[in-house]
Amino acid sequence: MIGENNVTSRKATLTLKISEFEVPPMQDMLIIGRKAPIGPEAVRRMAEALSPEQFTLIKMNHPKIEAVLLRNSLLQMIDEKLLMNIILEEAERMISDSMVLRSELKIAMSVQREVDLL
């Protein structure tokens, strides 16, 4: 029982963090598990609504991975089959069928040429 001299106090601490929202909320690629809570079509519609014509959905015939959403510019730089082989090889080590993985993928080209001097 709380007496007249006892004082009860409740306080809350509010923490606010503000950062820039990425549009879409992903970078270059999403790898979608077969039982993930968001499916390929929903991911495609999200990307299309937020960044029209910038992403391509590639459906997979893989036991754990249902599809991969890729930034189109990557597909213009590198062969799709080659890229998908690398992605699958690396992603299947850590993905479970209920996960969606977000990934950054940068392609940098380094050129060195020998030319004749005048």
Partner: protein, 268 residues
């Protein structure tokens, strides 16, 4: 035997952007196992309780539905619907008219219940309407076939001598022998009437000859020797085969079986 006779016209619909959990709630509310997915007035798929059970509830219907459901016209035959379902391993067909309007759905269960009416309870074989459907379809598609009209010899005598229950045993055992011959993909067998059976096959002639040899060879059934006569129409060689209706082909094969029966009696 048309799809329109057994289809369900009370069809509930949903849009593909709804969640799978919402689809499950709708199914519960309307006491249905399937929802037709319609986006902007167009059919885009179908979602069934099987899809709902196997997809994450947070997914949208578009990620759980069957995007290529089998469609069928209300005028189509139930046998055709049955073969469509067998080929595709799906649970239902969407019934649509020529204007691509959804008229209803027909489930595997409804088709199986209807087809069970055409099963002969004694032998477990389909009855005459089945072979009529198969034969007429093949004739319409210009696909040749062999037609064997099989008639058990002296079945009336067997009934008189040993009684009808024994006659039933003979028919059951004889149909088991015939069923064992149905090995090719294009083999179709039915109990046509009483002691008459029809086998339609698009298998090779060697298969047909093997079938005939087995059928006409006397078989011992419960210590009684039973034999049968066969009337054979070869659709690969018969002139004007496709110009004749199936009824006529069956009648012809039936007469040939009677002739074969007379010849065997004469030989005795």
């Amino acid at each position: 035997m048309k799809i329109s006779e057994i289809m369900t016209t009370a069809v509930c619909s949903i849009t593909s952007d709804k969640s799978v959990s919402h689809a499950a709630e709708q199914m519960n509310e309307y006491s249905t196992n399937s929802l037709v997915v319609v986006d902007y007035g167009e059919l885009t798929g179908i979602v069934t309780s099987r899809h709902v059970a196997s997809a994450h509830p947070n997914r949208i219907v578009a990620d759980a539905m069957d995007v290529s459901p089998n469609r069928i016209s209300p005028e189509q035959n139930i046998w055709y619907a049955h073969s469509l379902l067998l080929e595709s391993d799906k649970d239902l067909l969407i019934v649509m008219d020529h204007q691509e309007e959804v008229l209803g759905i027909v489930t595997r269960e409804a088709i199986q219940i209807k087809l069970a009416e055409y099963l002969d309870p004694l032998t477990g074989l389909y009855r005459a309407p089945y072979i009529h459907y198969i034969g007429e379809k093949m004739l319409a598609e210009n696909k040749p076939f062999h037609l064997l009209f099989i008639d058990v010899n002296d079945f009336g005598q067997i009934n008189k001598q040993f009684g009808h229950p024994f006659g039933d045993d003979v028919i059951r055992s004889f149909s088991a022998v015939l069923s064992s011959l149905v090995v090719e993909q294009g083999d179709h067998l039915c109990r046509y009437a009483g002691d008459e059976f029809i086998l339609i096959t698009s298998g090779p002639e060697s298969h047909v000859q093997q079938c005939i040899e087995t059928i006409v060879s006397p078989t011992e059934i419960y210590h009684v020797t039973v034999s049968a006569a066969v009337g054979y129409m070869n659709g690969y060689r018969e002139p004007n085969f496709f110009a004749r209706p199936l009824r006529e082909l069956i009648a012809n094969a039936s007469l040939l079986s009677t002739e074969a029966k007379k010849k065997s009696l004469f030989r005795c």
